[in-house]
Symmetry: C2
């Protein structure tokens, strides 16, 4: 457990007493989750506040039918406040998390975080701000879903992966794109073919090559 | 301005000092907004915390193309915390509000509420809880939109109006149902005809009569 990781991610760290800092450091657990590990939060069950120390994870919602839709990703240095949702009055949401790479997580137990939350106005402010940010992100996504068409969501998903991978050559299946864009695999296949015809992407086995990022951005 | 209205809606009221209570009472404004009045919140512009003293209002998001989708309704005794969104760090959302009846609103100016928020842990807790509730509601709605089909959303919208009006006979246009269900008017018309064939509703000029609420609930 590295104190530096807490200092780096929590803006309220300097406002805590030495005792409070020790409480966090001593109670937090380290987990190395293998790629594809899944966690579920909701219905009164949650882990606590999590810090992504290394790796990448996808947070999503699932349908009763088994489909799923990506809400956002967390990368190194991100704090997952919704992993502690059950700790917060009024916050009643169901979420899943899946590690997209082997991921190192610190977890602050919910009782420990709740105590700090009750003791420290700075922790309260931080918590409200983090919840507000996620609320805003999801409102934005909601807008995208209800008002923007599937082609632009697929273009957006391709550009997001291009940013994450730092490469034009994306090792990604149509299934994965479908989950990010909240549509069916068949729809992705059809629209990618259209993008190929338009010279926006090149298609290969298990990969999509972005040929015209600016063009995708305009969709 | 009636002190009772504040006592009734704010669980933190007894925890405020007399001076803080006076600040709220003296700074709040009363507005009678006529039916169809619209307010917009977002982009750094907001009103403050609002209390619906009488009437009914609809909160929704709009598309660049002019469509809109109902997020929730507020009725007598409800507090609209998102009317003060611009006051909260990290909360960056665009919302519209439309009065569905003549509506009496109390508005607590954002500076006054922000001061109380900074002074009182009880006000902080209340604010986080209210934001969390709205976040949860919207997550639920998001789930409905992405995973449930249009017919069940229309059935849900009809049952909601039945609850609001306390009657099986709903004076409502296909246009209004379309906004609540987030779809096009033509789709509503087609599905309502299907519902009529199935004996779930009766259709008349500018009204829909719920004949089988349990049947609608099962969709």
């Amino acid at each position: 457990m590295n104190r530096k990781n807490f200092e780096k991610v929590f803006p309220f760290w300097p406002e805590l007493t030495g005792k409070q800092q020790e409480e966090i450091i001593n109670s937090a657990t380290v987990n190395i989750c293998e790629k594809k590990t899944r966690l579920h939060f909701g219905g009164g069950e949650c882990a606590g506040v999590q810090i992504i120390v290394a790796g990448r994870t996808r947070v999503f919602i699932t349908s009763p039918g088994g489909g799923d839709i990506t809400l956002f990703r967390l990368i190194e240095g991100d704090v997952s406040i919704l992993s502690a949702a059950c700790m917060l009055n009024g916050l009643d949401i169901e979420l899943d998390m899946e590690m997209e790479t082997d991921t190192e997580l610190y977890t602050i137990p919910k009782q420990v975080y709740k105590k700090l939350y009750d003791e420290s106005p700075a922790v309260k402010d931080y918590t409200l701000e983090m919840i507000s940010e996620k609320f805003s992100d999801i409102m934005w996504l909601f807008n995208q879903f209800v008002f923007s068409n599937v082609a632009s969501r697929i273009a957006g998903a391709l550009l997001e992966h291009r940013g994450l991978d730092g490469s034009d050559e994306l090792k990604i299946t149509h299934e994965e794109i479908a989950r990010d864009a909240g549509t069916a695999r068949e729809v992705v296949t059809r629209i990618l073919k259209q993008f190929q015809t338009d010279g926006l992407v090149g298609l290969g086995r298990g990969k999509v090559t972005v040929l015209d990022a600016a063009g995708l951005g305009r969709i």
